[in-house]
């Protein structure tokens, strides 16, 4: 169980994490969403014990993570850069982690490696970005730690490799009850892979919920009224976005579906359709509410 309470992480005069609180249950695949600079990588480094929070608590299985070797033995962190391994061969990289993680499975590593067919004796600086990422992932999975944190995990992987690596992670979760947190800008992957998501913005948690709950609570309504209805008239509905095209009105609403429907039906719509939203659409509309929207580009 991962618990973060009121964690503050200050970089000079800016709070990269501004009192965030979230929890990740065991065996969960947790997707960390957020705009650039929202604090995702910082949060993962806090959870890995690389950074020490200025205030607040960061605990894994009830223990503080920072400078705690026994907790860190249960955590494996793959960051968004792999240049630090440049001078190692894949074998050396394997041996490196094998020394530190008692739970490392040589057998599992061989199995994963055989699926990817990465060269063993070549230095990693001759590898492509995607190959380095694969190397890091198989080492991370082979360490068989209960917690695996991946920052931009699928960055640089081709579609085939994404599927393979995803499958490896799923297998590990099933076999080892692995808890995975990964940050990504590819919301489709999180949508497919995660059962819980957290959205960060400006160092704060916008939401931290089950994916289904997120997806169920934000939806699109396509409706048409006899006479025009304004946003203010629909004040009982939590509208993220509203757009009128002729007589058809598109509303992105948040909340209980039945309550929203009841509120709209007060105006006797000629048409009422609920359309499910993808996670990416939810992300865009949620961020729009927070003032982070693409319309800024056009001025």
């Amino acid at each position: 169980m991962i618990e973060v309470r009121n964690a503050v992480m200050r970089f000079d005069d800016k709070n990269a994490l501004d009192g965030i609180t979230l929890s990740v249950p065991e065996g969960c695949a947790y997707g960390l969403l957020g705009s650039n600079g929202a604090g995702k990588s910082t949060l993962l480094r806090l959870l890995s014990g690389i950074y020490r929070a200025n205030s607040g608590e960061v605990r894994i299985d009830g223990e503080e993570v920072y400078d705690n070797a026994s907790v860190k033995e249960r955590v494996f962190f793959i960051n968004d850069e792999t240049v630090q391994f440049n001078n190692m061969t894949l074998t050396e990289m394997r041996d490196y982690y094998k020394r530190f993680y008692g739970s490392f499975s040589e057998e599992l590593w061989q199995k994963l490696h055989s699926a990817l067919e990465l060269p063993l004796k070549k230095r990693l600086n001759t590898f492509s970005k995607g190959m380095k990422r694969q190397a890091a992932v198989i080492c991370g999975i082979a360490c068989r730690t209960p917690y695996l944190f991946l920052d931009e995990a699928f960055d640089g992987l081709d579609p085939t490799m994404r599927i393979i690596v995803k499958q490896m992670l799923i297998d590990a979760m099933v076999d080892n009850k692995l808890t995975v947190i990964f940050s990504s800008h590819n919301l489709g992957e999180i949508d497919e892979f995660c059962d819980r998501v957290g959205l960060l913005h400006n160092g704060k948690v916008v939401f931290d919920r089950e994916l289904d709950s997120v997806k169920g609570s934000v939806f699109k309504i396509q409706t048409a009224f006899e006479s025009p209805v304004t946003r203010e008239q629909l004040s009982g509905v939590d509208i993220l976005h509203m757009e009128t095209s002729g007589s058809v009105v598109h509303i992105i609403a948040r909340g209980d579906r039945e309550a929203v429907r009841a509120a709209v039906e007060k105006f006797s719509p000629k048409l009422y359709d609920e359309i499910p939203l993808s996670l990416e659409e939810i992300f865009v509309y949620e961020m729009e509410v927070l003032g982070y929207d693409s319309s800024k580009l056009g001025g």
């Binding site: 000079d12 705690n68 070797a69 020394r99």
Partner: protein
């Protein structure tokens, strides 16, 4: 609980071992490089000295047998072999020295590399995410760095020590005791490298970027001994007028505070011409302090790394305060000497404008460079300017405190007699160009004499520096301490203090040492006989063959006479005389040399010994042997600066135009005036008062700024006879008790201005 602890410990050690092994593997290129450098240092240098010493031994064996190297092919070959090995050994020693310097540099590089996660973001993630705690990481990294740097160094020393035993030092230097000293130098180098690792780690804990991580440990390493020496120099120079060289020779403490300083400090005893029992770091005083500083560096590095924030890696400084402190130290090192010059100029009433401009430009350019290294883009350039100005102001403030505080009283430090290995002193009077006004205590290790010096030193009042410097009197003391450092002091003192110190300094022992110092040196060099004595006073000179007179005999006589010496005999020698004699010395094994020394009329034993060997040593002057007398009066002089030729010429009716030498007087016309600082006249040699004045006269010029009278007696009867070749003359200073008579004679014979200053001449 116990079971749990014992279960945890192996795990911790396993992680430590794993991490240590990984770090060693990472440092493998450094280990190889350090190993090569270590092997090319002591082992190479000493290894090549072995065949050289063997070749030297063989050659000297043949030379001792009297074999002519040009006639004997064996000897010729032996000499060539020795020369070849000499060239090879010199090359080896040069390479060894370079490799030692490089080993020192690579110790720093290896340390910086070993703590890569302190300044490289990618390695922060890699190293800090591993399941080890901070203590394990720090200890393993430190041990890995020490293993990569110190172990090759230790191995090279061990090989060096083994090789030293095969070197025949007798054949090389005739100085076997240097083996111990060389060993100490090797371990000083090792100790400095350990300290370098600690200091570099401490500096790394401040730095968040690679550029800072490499540059600042180097700069701080240089800045610490430089600032330390400069501070001592400023205090000493301002208080005693000591030179940079003196200051450096006194700062053994720099060996305590930095690795570079430790290496430099180990050479200070050598600069002080001393072979110490132990180099500074091998003495408890400096060794323990250096050890404490080294431990402080490591401990500071431990805590600073423990509490540093990894998120700041990538910033120039992980600790914000270092943004000001580290550039501040560097700027201080540059500003210190310039500020000292500024305060010196102000003190002397000169304009410091040039130094001020230098200070502004040099420090500003350096500060901007440091800001650029730190990645500043100068969007807020005024902040950079303000920080620079504040740094320079603080530097100037600290310099002014050092400059005007006399080192908070440290300036008046007097070493204990037990601490002093050797000491010497000079007590200078008003007229440095007159030898008698000075008294020199030769460098000695005699405890009684050292006590006299330290007693005089202790009694110099603390406000001495503020006394009237126009007294012209000062005391200069130099100690070589048993630890190899030197303490040099110069104090201005009043005339009363000068007289008192002279009285205390003049003892049989110091007088004897002073008189025969050079002779003792020559005796030690093999001179055992005084072949001839040349007696010299003013223009009179006589050479006597004294074959058979031994140096020991002469020394015995001087020693006996020295028992009588008092300052009165030396400085108030009314009616006495002094004489310079030159002793021509011959050596047992051939060769000769000549030395000069001063004897006085009261040195009965010496004089009678010399006279027994026929030396023409002067006594009183027989006026009847001279044909002309000139009397000179000095009024309130600043020194006795006169020209016998001019006096004789003017008195004998030659105008100033004839005697003038424009080049001599710098192109100015010489104008004689009785109101000038001296005036004179030609007396009648048959005047009975001249013989009367001679009774109280001596060759010693009096130490006074008041009136003084001089009698010049010539063998020529006038100017033309004098310049014609008969230039023999004597100078006789009139005793104070005869001043009334001297004044009377002076007035009777005073040369009037009108006699020489013709209208054409003016």
């Amino acid at each position: 609980m116990t079971a749990q602890s014992s279960a945890v410990k192996p795990a911790v050690f396993a992680k430590f071992g794993a991490y240590f092994a990984c770090k060693l593997k990472f440092l493998r290129p450094n280990i190889i490089m350090n190993g090569i450098l270590a092997l090319l240092s002591y082992p190479l240098a000493f290894g090549l000295l072995i065949p050289l010493s063997a070749a030297c031994e063989k050659y000297y064996e043949l030379a001792d047998q009297g074999i002519d190297i040009y006639m004997d092919s064996w000897a010729f070959t032996a000499r060539n072999t020795m020369n070849q090995w000499n060239d090879i050994a010199v090359t080896g020693m040069v390479i060894g020295a370079i490799c030692l310097v490089l080993l020192f540099v690579f110790t720093l590089v290896t340390t910086v590399r070993g703590f890569r996660y302190l300044y490289d973001k990618t390695y922060v993630d890699m190293d800090y995410s591993l399941p080890i705690n901070g203590n394990t990481r720090f200890c393993a990294d430190t041990l890995a760095v020490l293993s990569a740097t110190i172990v090759p160094h230790i191995l090279s020393i061990m090989i060096g020590i083994i090789l030293i035993n095969f070197i025949n030092f007798d054949a090389l230097f005739s100085a076997e005791e240097y083996t111990w000293l060389i060993t100490q130098y090797m371990f000083t180098g090792l100790f400095s490298c350990v300290m370098l690792v600690g200091l570099t780690m401490m500096m790394l804990s401040f730095c968040g970027k690679k550029a800072e991580a490499y540059i600042y440990p180097v700069l701080i390493n240089i800045a610490i001994p430089f600032i330390h020496t400069l501070c001592v120099y400023i205090v000493q120079n301002n208080t005693y007028g000591a030179t940079w060289d003196y200051s450096f020779r006194s700062v053994l403490q720099i060996g305590v505070t930095s690795p570079v300083g430790m290496v430099l400090a180990s050479f200070i005893p050598v600069l002080n011409a001393m072979v110490p029992d132990a180099l500074p770091v091998f003495t408890p005083e400096y060794g323990i302090s250096a050890l404490v500083f080294t431990l402080i560096f490591f401990a500071a590095a431990y805590f600073l790394i423990k509490y540093r924030r990894n998120e700041r890696v990538g910033s120039p400084y992980v600790y914000n305060s270092m943004t000001y402190i580290i550039p501040g130290v560097i700027i201080f090192a540059v500003a210190l000497p310039i500020c000292e010059q500024i305060f010196d100029s102000l003190k002397d009433g000169e304009s410091p404008a040039g130094w001020l401009i230098g200070l502004v430009i040099s420090t500003f350019v350096l500060y901007v460079i440091m800001e650029l290294i730190s990645g500043k883009n100068f969007r807020k350039f005024h902040i950079t300017v303000a920080k620079w100005a504040a740094t320079v102001a603080v530097s100037a403030g600290i310099t002014s405190v050092l400059f005007f505080s006399n080192g908070f009283g440290a300036a008046y430090y007097v070493p204990d007699v037990g601490e002093v290995a050797r000491a010497s002193a000079n007590i200078y009077g008003r007229y440095p160009n007159v030898s008698n006004s000075n008294y020199h205590i030769q460098e000695t290790d005699d405890e009684d004499v050292i006590r006299i010096i330290t007693d005089i030193h202790s009694d110099i009042p603390k406000e001495a520096v503020d006394t009237d410097e126009n007294s012209g009197c000062f005391v200069n003391i130099e100690y070589i301490l048993k630890n190899g450092s030197s303490v040099s002091r110069l104090y201005w003192v009043s005339r009363e203090q000068y007289a008192e110190f002279i009285e205390r300094a003049v003892t049989p022992k110091t007088f004897y040492d002073n008189t025969v110092n050079n002779l003792l040196y020559e005796q030690a060099d093999g001179c055992d006989e005084i072949g001839a004595v040349t007696a010299y006073s003013s223009s009179r000179q006589s050479v006597t063959d004294t074959s058979g007179l031994t140096v020991d005999e002469f020394l015995g006589a001087v020693e006996k006479d020295s028992e009588k010496v008092t300052s009165d005999l030396l400085y108030s020698a009314a009616g006495e005389y002094e004489m310079y004699i030159y002793l021509s010395l011959s050596r047992k094994n051939g060769g000769s040399s000549q030395i000069g020394l001063q004897i006085y009329s009261w040195m009965d034993n010496t004089l009678s010994l010399l006279r027994r060997y026929g030396a023409d040593i002067g006594g009183g002057i027989d006026v009847s042997e001279y044909k002309a007398a000139y009397i000179v009066k000095f009024d309130g002089t600043n020194g006795y600066n006169y020209y016998v030729d001019d006096i004789i010429a003017l008195c004998d009716g030659v105008t100033e135009q004839s005697v003038d030498d424009p080049e001599y007087y710098g192109g100015d016309k010489y104008v004689y005036t009785v109101t000038d600082w001296y005036s004179f006249g030609k007396a009648d040699i048959t005047d009975s008062r001249i013989a009367e004045l001679e009774k109280g006269a001596c060759a010693v010029s009096p130490f006074t700024t008041e009136t003084a009278y001089l009698l010049i007696l010539t063998k020529a009867d006038g100017y033309y006879g004098f310049i014609g070749g008969n230039k023999e003359y004597v100078e006789r200073w009139i005793s104070e008790e005869y001043y009334d008579l001297a004044e009377e004679v002076y007035r009777d014979y005073l040369l009037p201005e009108s006699a020489v200053n013709t209208p054409q001449a003016l």
